[in-house]
């Protein structure tokens, strides 16, 4: 891929004798929404930690936002955003305080931060709730805020770890609207999810089984290739042959 934002070649990570990630190679382009699927313990988290510069690969190479994961992990961290449903924001702080805190972490100057904060609160329709504690806000609002906060420093890639659990279908689609808008602005979105039907929202997906890439491609192409009617069925086809434990 010409303008690959993420590119890996034989990326491998071993923990002792156990190979958590086994020589995976793939490329993700600019503005692409990439769904990263796999059963628990398939190596998803390990792969994601390597891509975000938190874990050194045992062998193979990967570049993220143009930087090498091995030699320039700090540069990578400056160019990616990360959102997880569980850990992103402080529940006992207000939306405004959360924005200010994360803006500070990302090194925004005060003026930019003030402008961004105002624009963001307006876009999310959070002006009235700007000073209330996050814990009293609906889950859907928190998710949208967390997603926006992960983009405060205008990263090239946003990593979303299980972003939309536990919300109603309309709220979930509002969130996906935001993801589509982000991708439309040329930012790559890297999503891990448990919801197999959600995988069908992505431009391309990959399914990891036992540390390897068992499938990669657009949802439609994969369904054709394996002759299944949904990604859920595909997932079960790929994961089933291995024991459940």
């Amino acid at each position: 891929m010409a303008d690959a934002v993420i590119h890996t070649e034989n990326l491998t990570r071993k923990f002792g004798a156990f190979t958590a990630v086994d020589a995976i190679s793939f490329s993700i382009g600019r503005g692409e929404i990439f769904g990263f699927l796999g059963a628990n313990g398939a190596g998803k988290t390990t792969a994601m930690k390597m891509l975000t510069g938190l874990l050194r690969p045992t062998s193979g190479s990967a570049s993220v936002a143009g930087f090498d994961v091995r030699s320039e992990p700090e540069k990578i961290k400056q160019n990616i955003g990360y959102m997880s449903q569980r850990f992103s924001l402080y529940e006992d702080l207000s939306p405004k305080e959360n924005i200010r805190f994360w803006g500070g972490i990302y090194g925004l100057d005060r003026k930019t931060l003030r402008e961004k904060s105002a624009r963001l609160l307006e876009a999310l329709d959070l002006q009235e709730a700007a000073d209330t504690r996050l814990s009293s806000l609906p889950l859907g609002w928190k998710q949208k805020l967390a997603f926006s906060v992960a983009q405060l420093h205008e990263p090239k890639i946003v990593f979303l770890d299980e972003p939309t659990g536990g919300v109603d279908p309309v709220t979930r689609r509002r969130f996906w609207d935001m993801i589509y808008e982000t991708a439309d602005n040329g930012i790559t979105v890297f999503v891990t999810t448990h919801y197999m039907d959600e995988a069908e929202y992505c431009d391309r997906i990959s399914i990891m089984v036992d540390g390897r890439m068992a499938a990669i491609g657009t949802p439609d192409a994969l369904k054709d290739e394996f002759g299944v009617s949904s990604i859920d069925d595909l997932f079960i086809r790929l994961v089933r042959p291995t024991p459940i434990e």
Binding site: A39, N40, G41, S135, S136, L137, P138, L139, G140, W141, G165, G166, V167, D168, P169, V170, T171, R173, W176, D177, Y180, E181, A183, D184, H194, Y195, M196, D197, E200, Y201, P219, D220, D232, F235, I236, V239, R240, I244, E245
Partner: protein
């Protein structure tokens, strides 16, 4: 004559301080049914289930479970009930076998007495008998918790989000087990945030912000969606969604996997006009097909009908 009710709930409401968890809920679940409560976090599923399990007192209204009043005859209900709370309540430091034996003991029975009921599930756990519950995978924990809830052969099984956080394979296996338990004559009440599990129930109730938006069979509920529904596809999805929403006749446009589900305000949409509109919005590759609405389409339509699309329910 209809089967007698396993659960009958009339005008039940419950608030925690200023937070209204349940508005005014009416439900009637006949014996032997596999009944699903579908809703997001904070929709009131757990509160409803806890009232049915006699763990919470309703502020108003009346709940009758297996023919007993949930307030005055709660002991009778508890004796006949199997309950599996969210997050699989197991003792993490006890082994699989110890957990099962303990729950059998507190329900005044033994594992052997009702072994035929749990045999199918327990044989899958057998190889890990000595393993501590905390060291099991999500799917295994879920199976063990189900065994523990079944060990005294309850008449009514109440399962609060049993498939949350469990991978797709385990989820599918779990629903197969529920089908088998239903065949044993056990009434099953299950809640889930997953829309795709709704079709597996005999009947479902949509919960949103503490009220029931609709109760029906999966087929019946999709029948509530009366407008024609179209799947629209184009490569640039964000532009497609915005263009569809800007279209003057649009009733709704929601992303749905690879396509966008679009419904029109008019009884029959003018597809040629719509295509022209999309073309003018720079989406030359757009394609439209009419489709049958699914459960999720129906839920969203019901939410719109109740004016619930503005804000989401508070957590709780």
């Amino acid at each position: 004559m209809i089967a007698p009710s396993a659960v009958r709930i009339a005008e039940v409401g419950k608030s925690f301080g200023a937070v209204k968890a349940l508005g005014r809920v009416d439900l009637d679940i006949p014996q032997g049914e596999l009944f699903g409560c579908i809703g997001a976090d904070g929709a009131g599923k757990t509160t409803l289930f806890r009232i049915i399990c006699t763990l919470l007192l309703p502020d108003r209204g009346r709940a009758e479970v297996l023919g007993f009043d949930s307030v005055s005859d709660f002991r009778e209900i508890r004796r006949r009930l199997g309950y599996m709370p969210g997050r699989f309540s197991l003792y993490q430091d006890l082994s699989v076998e110890e957990n099962l034996r303990f729950f059998a003991a507190v329900f005044g029975t033994t594992v052997g007495e009702n072994y035929d009921l749990i045999k199918d599930i327990y044989t899958q756990l057998e190889p890990f008998r000595e393993r501590r519950a905390g060291k099991l995978s999500g799917g295994m924990k879920q199976k063990l918790a189900l065994c523990c809830a079944l060990v005294h052969r309850p008449e009514l099984l109440v399962l609060d989000e049993p498939t949350t956080g469990v991978d797709a394979v385990s989820r599918r296996e779990f629903w197969q087990m529920l089908k088998r338990l239903k065949a044993e004559g056990i009434t099953i009440l299950v809640s889930t945030p997953y829309m795709d599990e709704a079709v597996l129930c005999d009947r479902i109730a949509f919960l949103q912000k503490g009220s029931v938006l609709g109760v029906d069979t999966p087929c019946g509920i999709t029948g509530l969606f009366t407008r024609p529904l179209y799947a629209v596809r184009a490569r640039q999805k964000y532009r497609l969604i915005t263009a569809l929403r800007r279209y003057p006749h649009a009733a709704s446009a929601y992303a749905f996997g690879g396509s966008v589900h679009y419904s029109d305000k008019r009884p029959a949409a003018d597809l040629r006009d719509l295509l022209a509109w999309l073309d003018a919005s720079g989406l030359e590759d757009a394609g439209i097909t009419q489709i049958e609405p699914g459960i999720e389409d129906a839920f969203m339509a019901l939410m719109e009908l109740q004016g619930e699309t503005g804000t989401e329910g508070a957590d709780g």
